[in-house]
Symmetry: D2
Subunit: 136 residues, 4 copies
């Protein structure tokens, strides 16, 4: 298991007239969480794309337990629970600064070869980086 934590500050434009962070904007928080998790592994997502690997999202699930508000500092924990195959799954827990669970989420992304547009296996380099976290 590999996990990584970041903090995020809620922007004004991310709130809606209910005063909550708009439910669709959490997807961008999750994106930042998984991008920084990969960067911390020595594996910037941008490099993946530069090397011809796209990683579109195949499935998104979000459960909203409590709202986040403007200017809140949020703590987002991103977890890779299994070695990627042709897919990679991330789980997320978003908490308030006091530790209350606000949102849980999972995303499944698929590796796509940009030159062919077809699914592919996870790059070996990524498997190597993740390997130590999944040793028996």
């Amino acid at each position: 298991m590999y996990d990584h934590e970041i903090t995020l500050r809620v922007r004004y434009g991310e709130t809606d007239r209910m005063g909550y962070v708009y439910y669709g904007n959490y997807a961008e928080y999750l994106e930042v969480g998984r991008v920084e998790a990969l960067r911390a592994l020595g594996f910037p997502y941008k490099r993946l794309e530069d090397e011809g690997v796209l990683l579109p999202v195949h499935e998104l699930w979000l459960r909203y337990h409590a709202p986040a508000y403007y200017d809140d500092e949020l703590v987002l924990r991103t977890t890779i629970t299994a070695l990627p195959t042709a897919r990679i799954q991330f789980s997320y827990a978003l908490r308030s600064s006091s530790g209350a669970l606000l949102t849980e989420a999972t995303t499944t992304l698929v590796f796509v070869d940009r030159s062919t547009g077809r699914p592919m296996r996870a790059p070996q380099e990524l498997l190597n980086a993740l390997g130590p976290f999944f040793s028996p």
Copy 2:
């Protein structure tokens, strides 16, 4: 069962550098779908809020089968599959203009009394409007 269909045109700002509609932006499409479904029932969502009923999203699930692209005209079908209780569930199918299924989704929203901040049952007026679609 009650369903309703709208068309949506993809905006430039909704795409990302992959050339696809960014995965988080579908949440806004779903919002438009359910708002228009309620309006067609004679029940504008804004009126709900004006009458002190909030309807935050509790759960979101999305599966992305194929990307949507800039300037595509999309057809979004929104379905209410059961009479609401303290919650209301919407299912969605987003298709290209040629009929290909691009995205499936569900959302669960909860009725909240704005004055108390507590969950409440669906307003009777909404149940009345939906009743005929769920007659035995």
Copy 3:
């Protein structure tokens, strides 16, 4: 002079906790306005890009006279005030359904040859389409 009018419905996710449309979201409305103005000329913006012409925004100016609110139906008038050269300027007036002026704006966009990344003159085809509106 060439102008074109569209209506837009404010989405929930476009509002902020003040209850207004977030000031940054007007840029997307303007994009829709100019895209539809070009389409009505027989000149879809997407076709421009498909033919290798990019049209990035070089300058944006917006004045907010009065807020727009959730679910408002807005009327956006987009005007091309001069024949394009290496640039094209659009002016916009956004009004409420009752005719009140909410927002004025201008954008200047530049024609860029995608293959070279360099500025270029407006495509002749676009000049031909606009010509009749600027005859002496």
Copy 4:
């Protein structure tokens, strides 16, 4: 004169299919810049709102000199060039990590008393905090 600098990392969802940061998304960057400039003054924007002062944007101007790209680390300098009256003006310079000027901008915001909806003068507390930076 008072100025303040932050860094921002471009998110994937902020890019568009041209590969650039979408022109409308800069407004959110500016918002973050001025919010952090006020926080560094000891004057969180959220506190202003909590005390009944709204600060809607009245005017926005942006000039785009060069695009910003996915994952870029940007440096945003926010400057208050004059003591606020019933308005406050911010100027911005957004640079790449190598120092190239990407975007210049200004925003004018107006102080509004939330209880009356009417314009008001800048809160004395804010004038006090800014005073030392504008001493003769």
